[in-house]
Symmetry: C2
Subunit: 310 residues, 2 copies
């Protein structure tokens, strides 16, 4: 028997502290808490890590505070393309969708793909939307994902692009993702990730969130991980699977391997990176190299949430 534990993130692209009002930060903290409570209800009831991850992420997808589902960033066409993945550490089954436009909750679709555990594992574009619709998932018009906040961000990024000040844009407009990793009472691990990408991303651009091994990984032998940050770098490092490999083959702890990847391996690339993870013993880590990361943890000891460094 393991001690059930859940960790979540709402992305390492936080609103800069100087621009964050107390009321708004309280809103983010309440959103994180709601996600943790949904996932924790599953784990506390003896439910599986996969279901806890799905429940926690679905809440964040529905919450306009986070860049996933409703509240997703606008791409360069002023539309929304969503990516997500999930992985079951007990079976290594996984599901993934990339560039979907009409799936209300991508995490629910990838969870079903993982449950089936067959072919397809990954679906892209219109094919993903078609499969979800054919299998009875809630579908929406693309405009459902829009929020005034993200629309304003698109205008700001476009203005920065014209002015040549894109590099100085705050992290909150460069990336955002939600994710969760869980350990259930039966000792099984799971992880999932969901995103709207980033503001003004090229149409069709896919980051690490739907890539098994890059943004998401779970294996009962080692750890469960969901990453957030500049996806291209995570893909090039196969970041989540690399942490697993350092543990399995290199004898590193989760903390050692995670620190090495976020603070050493990626630091030279100035990527903006973070992750939440836990190992089979329930040890948790939430490293990031940005100003903050929306994050939280639920365990029998209670629920904790944070945005900036303590």
């Amino acid at each position: 028997m393991s001690v059930p534990t859940l960790v979540i993130h709402g992305g390492c692209g936080v609103i800069p502290r100087a621009q964050m009002s107390a009321a708004r930060e309280a809103g983010f903290r309440a959103s994180l808490r709601a996600s943790l409570e949904a996932g924790w209800a599953v784990l506390a009831g003896g439910g599986p890590a996969m279901a806890a991850v799905e429940a926690a992420i679905a809440v964040m997808e529905d919450d306009p505070n986070f860049n996933a589902g409703h509240g997703s960033a606008f791409n360069a066409d002023g539309a929304h393309e969503l990516d997500a993945s999930i992985m079951d550490g007990a079976t290594l089954r996984a599901g993934s969708v990339a560039s979907t436009r009409r799936i209300r909750n991508p995490i629910r679709v990838v969870a079903e793909l993982a449950r089936r555990g067959a072919d397809p594992l990954m679906l892209a574009g219109e094919g993903a939307d078609r499969w979800a619709a054919d299998n009875g998932f809630a579908m929406v018009e693309n405009g459902y994902f829009a929020t005034d906040w993200r629309r304003a961000a698109l205008e700001e990024i476009r203005a920065r692009a014209r002015a040549g000040t894109l590099a100085a844009a705050p992290e909150s407009e460069k990336h955002g993702t939600v994710g969760a990793a869980a350990l259930d009472a039966a000792g099984h691990l799971a992880a999932g990730t969901s995103t709207g990408g980033y503001t003004n991303k090229m149409v069709g651009r896919v980051g690490d969130s739907p890539i098994i091994g890059a943004g998401t990984w779970a294996d009962d032998r080692t750890c469960a991980i969901s990453a957030t940050g500049k996806g291209e770098f995570f893909i090039r490092k196969v970041l989540a699977h690399e942490i697993h490999a350092r543990m399995l083959w290199g004898g590193q702890s989760l903390a050692e391997a995670s620190r090495a990847m976020i603070h050493d391996e990626l630091s030279g690339w100035a990527a903006g990176a973070g992750l939440v993870a836990l190992d089979r013993a329930g040890n948790t880590v939430m490293p990031y190299d940005t100003e903050g990361m929306y994050r939280g943890k639920a365990s029998p000891a209670g629920i904790e949430v944070a945005v900036y460094a303590a």
Copy 2:
């Protein structure tokens, strides 16, 4: 200085020996040789591994004998969706496209994405086609990829699906991929993979070929790998990166790690799997667990090609 070496595959889904005429096998062998000659011309001239991989794969994409580019399998809609990726072991730069429908040579587009080494690394669907067109790559109508052979295969698979005999379909209709891995005189490694998927695949289904770490991996510290086979399993094992990790962190040789993955780790899943790979010292492996694998090697010792077990 390293001894330049190139290995290629045209997929582990070979036509069963009993159905392969001598003339047809000679055709496949000539096709493999043409690919090796194109890649070898780059390496022999002192050119980079990335260019050799691109050249070798482009020849196979243009060759109707292989399931990539012209000659790609038909999906369930009777159309073609192509996936490809490439990775530079010197820089870990990579490029990837998934579910493209109009790019004549996907390997050339992913090579350009890798050269730029920025964002986007991966493009899916219509966005990939748009980027390629905007950047001057040769575009075609989807019908360009069609061949009578693959159209007949679609009809046969559909008949098998109706008759419930899909599982007994030959490997040649279940998957097919092309790939290459190279070591250049400067000691740099590169690998790439390109595919039309498999006959009657679900629209939007993405396999391991465009996934960095699953179907393609290159890192100068260890090895360069291109995989072929049932992509869902490769994604779940992050197969190519796992071989790298066993070498880097576990001290295994390329031969040990590759054998473990193809013959032990995947054997229980009856996946149909193969790969070509080489390490930084120029040691090459070409394991597969099917009846054969279109494959070949070019080095200063000459060019060798093979289809079935020797």
